[in-house]
């Protein structure tokens, strides 16, 4: 018999009723997924962790803001995405005005150590170029590529998270992929 898995929507409903263990389960399920999502925006593992914690803190303090008209994961990714975009804007402004941040680019494209000691650090030339090209994508395209090709979310979920029609999502993803391909060709 298949083991019944409590859905995310049931967990948040229990948390809204006061069950803190349900909140802990939500954090356990999504902390790594959100970290991967946010890290691809910021390329800074410490800032990304901080932001993921801020996301979960918002879930804790605004638990009643979620209503079951959309999937819980959509709501969670929307919060994380908004925080990531805000932080990215701050980082870009700081890069423009701060001379001491000139060395920021030195570690910007580093692939981080995976915290699981059993895995190896990935460092191929193509992967580095791909990450570099991703960082140069316009924010709209970058968001779509991360959500679709790294997080592997459906077009419908992406449409709800970003708040644009599905047709626009598909168009931006296609154009983002073509742009990435052109940039990779140039850097070969």
């Amino acid at each position: 018999m298949a083991e019944y898995r409590v859905t995310d929507e049931e967990l948040i409903a229990r948390f809204q009723d006061g069950d803190v263990r349900a909140y802990n389960e939500i954090v356990r399920r999504y902390k790594d997924k959100l970290l991967n999502f946010v890290y691809r925006f910021l390329n800074d593992i410490d800032k990304a962790e901080d932001l993921v914690q801020d996301t979960f803190l918002k879930v804790y303090t605004h638990k009643y803001s979620y209503q079951e008209i959309a999937k819980f994961s959509t709501w969670l990714y929307t919060i994380a995405g908004n925080l990531a975009r805000t932080e990215l804007r701050k980082l870009k402004r700081r890069k423009t005005f701060s001379i001491s941040d000139l060395s920021y680019d030195d570690h910007e494209y580093e692939i981080p150590m995976v915290h699981d000691p059993g895995d190896h650090v990935e460092s191929s030339h193509f992967t580095r170029n791909l990450q570099k090209a991703m960082n140069e994508l316009p924010p709209d395209f970058k968001t779509m590529i991360i959500l679709r090709d790294i997080q592997e979310l459906s077009y419908e979920d992406i449409s709800r998270i970003v708040g644009v029609p599905i047709g626009t999502v598909k168009s931006r993803i296609n154009r983002g992929r073509l742009k990435l391909q052109v940039m990779l060709r140039k850097n070969k």
């Binding site: 954090v27 993921v52 803190l57 995976v114 090709d149 790294i150």
Partner: protein, 181 residues
């Protein structure tokens, strides 16, 4: 199919969303155009690499740091602004709650302004009583002119006219007032 159309359909092809006729045209163009074929191969390789990017995991003290943030929030170590925007009167979200309160205030003010409830209607009781007295004395109730305070009606003209036949343009003189032409 032109190269522009081929590019526009690359993602749909990868996702398996092309109709059979579109797929056929796409495949034919791929065979005939090395540049477009190269683009498709590059994108497929790129997507494979993106799927295989190293998966990062949270640090060991992630949960402890999150718990600390929650504890700080619960113990009130949050800014005044944070507390304002997190305030939930009657379990409502702040914005609808404040909007509801603002609507109640506006309705209350509007009601007072429209009906002027705090100021009762002003009635000149002296005039009313004088007028009533005059009406009681006069034979033709329609003959009562406006009176100033203290004035009494000279009913001489009225008395000389038969009831129901009084000309309405006949002058009526007030005792304390000069007669007006």
């Amino acid at each position: 199919m032109k190269c522009y159309d081929f590019e526009a359909q690359i993602s749909a092809y990868i996702d398996g969303e092309l109709k059979p006729t579109q797929r056929k045209d796409f495949t034919l163009h791929r065979q005939d155009c090395p540049e477009c074929a190269g683009k498709l191969d590059d994108i497929v390789q790129m997507l494979q690499t993106l799927h295989e990017l190293p998966v990062v995991q949270t640090s060991e003290d992630f949960m402890n740091r999150l718990q600390k943030k929650i504890d700080d929030h619960n113990s009130g170590k949050t800014s005044i602004w944070q507390r304002i925007i997190q305030f939930r009167p009657f379990g409502l979200d702040p914005i609808p709650a404040f909007g509801f309160a603002a609507a109640i205030v506006l309705m209350t003010i509007s009601t007072f302004m429209i009906f002027d409830l705090d100021r009762p209607p002003q009635v000149d009781f002296d005039r009313l009583t004088a007028r009533q007295a005059m009406l009681n004395e006069a034979s033709d109730p329609l003959a009562s002119p406006p009176l100033t305070a203290g004035a009494t009606l000279d009913t001489t003209a009225l008395d000389s006219v038969a009831p129901g036949t009084r000309p309405y343009d006949a002058p009526i003189h007030l005792v304390n007032q000069p007669s007006s032409p």
